[in-house]
């Protein structure tokens, strides 16, 4: 799955916006804005280094947006006019060429890996971190290990049980009991 590329016609120019490429620069700009608001009342001495750095970062983010995410295309208009209704912007998915990772993705789908397992892992990790606020480390960890192993394709209950319990006990013994890390 790819983030969409949006085409918008502004007068006689076709503006193409690659939303995926926008992701990081926009995130940086958002962070910079929040940072600016948070630090605006501070004395000069606190910002003598961070201030100029902030403006440089904003500048670079803007440059990146214009070089990678937004392209202005005058010539392609005629070509597209015949094919699409020019008045409505179109959103196309996966307009880029098929990359090596796509090929890998196709290959690995059969083995149970792919977008769903990666996203599943991310969601599980969020759940794991949240669980640490409410249940003891041992419980959250054993749960996470078991679930993660399951979504990564292991279906044999015995293996899941041994893996999650074994690894939990090992880490708990070493880090909590021996090295006294105050895990929740």
């Amino acid at each position: 799955m790819k983030p969409p590329t949006i085409s918008v016609r502004v007068s006689n120019t076709n503006v193409r916006i690659a939303t995926g490429e926008l992701l990081f620069p926009v995130l940086v700009l958002g962070f910079c804005a929040a940072y600016y608001i948070d630090t605006r009342g501070l004395p000069d001495r606190s910002m003598m280094y961070a201030g100029p750095l902030l403006y440089t970062t904003v500048l670079l983010a803007v440059v990146t947006v214009f070089k990678h995410a937004v392209s202005f295309d005058r010539q392609s208009i005629k070509r597209e006019r015949g094919e699409r209704n020019e008045s409505t912007p179109f959103i196309g998915w996966g307009t880029d060429e098929e990359t090596a990772t796509d090929k890998l993705e196709k290959k690995s789908r059969s083995t149970g890996f792919g977008t769903s397992s990666a996203v599943g892992l991310a969601v599980l990790l969020i759940g794991y971190l949240l669980s640490l606020y409410v249940v003891p480390f041992v419980v959250g960890t054993a749960g996470f290990l078991g679930c993660a192993l399951y979504i990564l394709g292991e279906r044999r209950p015995a293996r899941i049980l041994i893996y999650s319990l074994g690894f939990t006990i090992l880490t708990w013994g070493v880090f909590v009991e021996w090295l006294l890390v105050p895990l929740p």
């Binding site: 074994g166 006990i169 013994g173 070493v174 909590v176 006294l180 105050p182």
Partner: protein, 350 residues
């Protein structure tokens, strides 16, 4: 290291070998199973302490507060028959560790080694959610007096000469260990007392960079404390004087009073950096017997030979040890709070 090892350290010793020999998880389990049994059979209202006591240090490992704490806990451990775990929570000019202590349950299992006046600074100058009344004070540990240092081969030998030098130069560079604290306050008080001198005040961010800047001559003078600076450097850098009425024993340097600098505020009272043991507020009310156990065992530490000799190894820490009971500690905390509040406007100039 200590004469009577607790069973816990023996177990640790065994564990260390057991674990590294490869049975990491297994050994960890055995240990915890053993301890779990104790917990289960022990009455919950039973003898205190029955679990590890966490000592919060609001500075990183290797700093002065950390070293003082770790020199103390082994002896405390023996007296109270408990295992102390030192945890470092550095940052925010001690506020990170301070909030950690503030949030902890007042059950006698979390205490902190904090320092004054940094402690007061977190609620007077910063946005800390707590203040003086939110804590119980178990006792002071030591007082390291505020002291001025100059690089080797400086053209001045003591504070009076340095002030004269500053007058002639117009502006001199003075390094402090923190933005808010006893070192910065000392510099600000002196600048405020003498209209005709001006300091270019630079916060060097801690004892180590201050030592480096003084040794290499990057500053005209720096403000620190003798023990924090490390008395190993006696003779190498110049001790200009201490912000006290009497000279101290740790570093051969005159006191400001001796040099006739009495007009500087706080010279008569003398001030420096205290380290003290603080507990979350409510401990004394909710668990008076735990509070008393901690207070009494803490007081006893200072009479133990093994502690004193360990302190001596720590660059002569034994010479500035200064225990006060909880009542006297509270008075000292109040006194520091008062003058930090009084001189707050001075800090705006920094």
């Amino acid at each position: 290291m200590t004469s009577n090892k607790t069973s816990r350290s023996d177990r640790r010793q065994f564990l260390k070998y057991a674990v590294t020999a490869g049975g990491a998880g297994l050994a960890g389990c055995l240990d915890s199973v053993g301890r779990g049994d104790n917990d289960d059979t022990g009455d919950s209202n039973g003898t205190y302490p029955e679990q590890n006591i966490e000592v919060i240090v609001p500075w990183s490992q290797g700093g002065g507060t950390d070293r003082a704490t770790r020199a103390t806990t082994p002896t405390w451990s023996d007296i109270l028959d408990a295992n102390f775990v030192v945890q470092n929570y550095p940052g925010g000019s001690t506020q990170v560790g301070g909030e950690r202590l503030y949030d902890a349950d007042p059950d006698g299992y979390t205490i902190a080694m904090w320092n004054m006046p940094q402690m007061q600074a977190t609620w007077i100058f910063q946005d800390a959610p707590y203040d003086m009344d939110d804590f119980d004070y178990l006792g002071t540990h030591h007082l390291d007096p505020t002291m001025w240092f100059a690089p080797p081969e400086s053209p001045y030998e003591d504070m009076a000469e340095f002030i004269e030098y500053a007058r002639e130069e117009g502006e001199v560079t003075v390094g402090t260990t923190a933005a808010i604290g006893n070192t910065a306050l000392s510099a600000l008080l002196i600048e405020d007392t003498y209209d005709d001198i001006e300091f270019n005040l630079v916060n060097l961010e801690g004892g180590t960079p201050t030592r480096q800047a003084t040794l290499s001559g990057d500053v005209d003078a720096s403000v620190n404390q003798p023990w924090a600076f490390n008395p190993d450097h006696i003779g190498e850098v110049i001790g200009l004087g201490t912000h006290t009425p009497e000279p101290q024993d740790l570093w051969p340097a005159p006191s400001f009073a001796e040099l006739g600098l009495d007009e500087i505020p706080l010279v008569e009272e003398g001030f420096g950096q205290w380290k003290l043991i603080v507990a979350p507020g409510g401990l004394e009310d909710e668990y008076p017997e735990r509070y008393n156990a901690l207070v009494n065992s803490y007081a006893e530490i200072f009479e133990q030979d093994d502690f004193v000799s360990r302190a001596e190894e720590q660059g002569g820490l034994d010479q500035i040890l200064d225990y006060n009971d909880p009542e006297a500690t509270v008075q000292e905390v109040e006194a520091y709070s008062e003058f930090m509040q009084e001189y707050e406007p001075l800090f705006d100039r920094f």
